[in-house]
Symmetry: C2
Subunit: 327 residues, 2 copies
């Protein structure tokens, strides 16, 4: 295992400390329990957005804390759910009196712990479950992956504009329903505490439909040209999403941590060509490492069919460590 680290036990603390130190104009680190909150939180009169999940997916979620997006993020250990205690403390700290909206990726541990936190939370709250990964056929098992970023940005825009908790919740549910993702891995990730790759994969193989923790995908295949990979991923998304012709979409090409930008923009080009003839019109784009899997080489495509209101909230100013525009 080759990683920049001092000891396996200190990775999370040290990387979080560095993250917050590098962005101290935007976020604050709390310990005992651990969470990251927006500088100046709570924002009075604004619905507070709280997310979180296992670490190893940086910049998700703490990188999206700030103006126009999340109010707090609760990082668990690597690929491990945060505790209800973290979520509860974070919610209490950032609640500005208009309620708390939990945004939760559909993984058993996250769902269970956020449910527990929501039950224990004394004030107004609601939860959005994100499950955009089409790699799994069984919808109840669908994982929340890179589409989470889209939900967090659009609902964050609405909350910043003064939408109520019920409005933010309804909007988030809708965005999730209009969002699908599909990923592929060229290499495994290596969990620091394990010290060896999560799965073995040959020099001429790829894992199609991989999850963001290196979960098994749809099938192991021979490594294919970029265009073939893009076609497969776009087809899986389109089959499931069934977009009406003329639909406006956001296309996110997301890297898993070990794949450089040059390959991601090449995959973006391939995705755009694969979308020709589907009737989908790409009107917004994002390319980069946003929802990662430690050092895994690979990428995912996310397609979100957005109406005009959603596009407005996507475009709305955001000022976070990992997404920043319009302000």
């Amino acid at each position: 295992m080759k990683k920049f680290m001092n000891s396996v036990d200190d990775i999370l603390d040290e990387s979080l400390r560095g993250f917050v130190l590098a962005h101290e104009d935007l976020v604050v680190l709390h310990t005992g329990p651990t969470y990251v909150s927006r500088l100046g939180a709570p924002a009075r009169g604004k619905v507070a957005l709280v997310s979180g999940g296992g670490s190893g997916h940086e910049p998700l979620h703490a990188g999206f804390v700030g103006y126009g997006m999340l109010d707090a993020a609760c990082p668990g250990q690597v690929f491990t759910s945060p505790t209800p205690g973290q979520m509860l403390e974070a919610a209490q700290a950032v609640d500005g009196g208009s309620g708390v909206l939990f945004i939760v990726k559909n993984f058993a541990g996250d769902v269970m712990n956020f449910e527990m936190a929501a039950e224990m939370y004394a004030s107004e709250q609601a939860t959005i479950l994100v499950n955009d990964d089409v790699a799994t056929d069984d919808e109840s098992l669908r994982r929340g992956v890179a589409g989470t970023l889209v939900v967090e940005k659009i609902v964050g825009g609405a909350a910043q504009a003064g939408a109520s908790l019920a409005e933010c919740h309804a909007l988030g549910v809708q965005v999730n329903q209009r969002t699908r993702s599909m990923g592929v891995a060229l290499t495994s990730c290596t969990v620091p505490a394990v010290g060896k790759p999560t799965f073995d994969i040959g020099e001429d193989e790829m894992e199609m439909g991989v999850g963001i923790h290196g979960e098994k995908g749809r099938r192991r295949e021979k490594l294919a040209p970029a265009d073939d990979i893009a076609r497969q991923m776009v087809a899986a998304i389109i089959e499931d999403l069934k977009p009406a012709s003329g639909g406006q979409a956001l296309l996110l090409v997301n890297g898993f941590g070990g794949t450089p930008l040059m390959e991601l923009t090449l995959m973006y080009d391939a995705a755009r060509r694969s979308l020709g003839g589907t009737g989908v019109e790409v009107v917004r784009s994002l390319v980069g490492n946003y929802v990662t899997s430690l050092d895994m080489a690979g990428c995912s495509f996310t397609l979100s069919l957005l109406d005009d209101e959603m596009l407005r909230y996507w475009d709305a100013p955001v000022h976070t460590p990992a997404l920043r525009w319009g302000r």
Copy 2:
């Protein structure tokens, strides 16, 4: 070699096409010869900044084209200098009547070709040579690495604010003199046309002082804890930069493409601790993959001692694919 690609010959064209397609609100792609220009260029009355170099370092340079930074970037093939023809065409296209400033990394091919372009250029022009890498003792051989970003941002801010060609040139020369970088690799990169890693490196080794093309560093060493690596890199920079006590600095922790953000923020934390006692006060930070080496795992530290004017230009609005704030 595991890369997202269709064929080695098409990598650059396809990744550039995808890059520009994803950022068509900011940049325009020209072919025959190839360069990327700022949408709406030339900007009348503004000094035009033109940079470029081999590809494989994305987002450098094309990712820094836009408001408040570069007016054009000339990408060569992977790790190969662009031609004088590309530079000349780009310069002519973006010259707004106030002259062209070439920003050149100190590599023999880049220097030679930019010199040729400058000689052939009929209008007012000047060149800034960036050579921030302290890994090489011989100053004439010092490579231009991640510090190039700092020069491009600060001079870009000055040009946007209306500084003259002579002022932009003098400022860039000063910023370069106040900027030092040092890098370390955990793995080699793989050049697509070669198909195998540039260098062999053991599972327990690192290459201290590596260049951004996988050039040999100061020495091959046993892989060390993050704090030891950070101490070595900071020491190399400080020895060379000899900062006065109380100096204000920008600290950039830059990933080489294959290292995830979690490790980069951990290294940022280590760098900050290593800077304790040097008298340098870190007042600005940037952490991420900005000047990469294809898929190489590793990172570099860049320290820039900035005066108040330079800090103002660093903070000035920038609106490019890879750096965006304040607007």
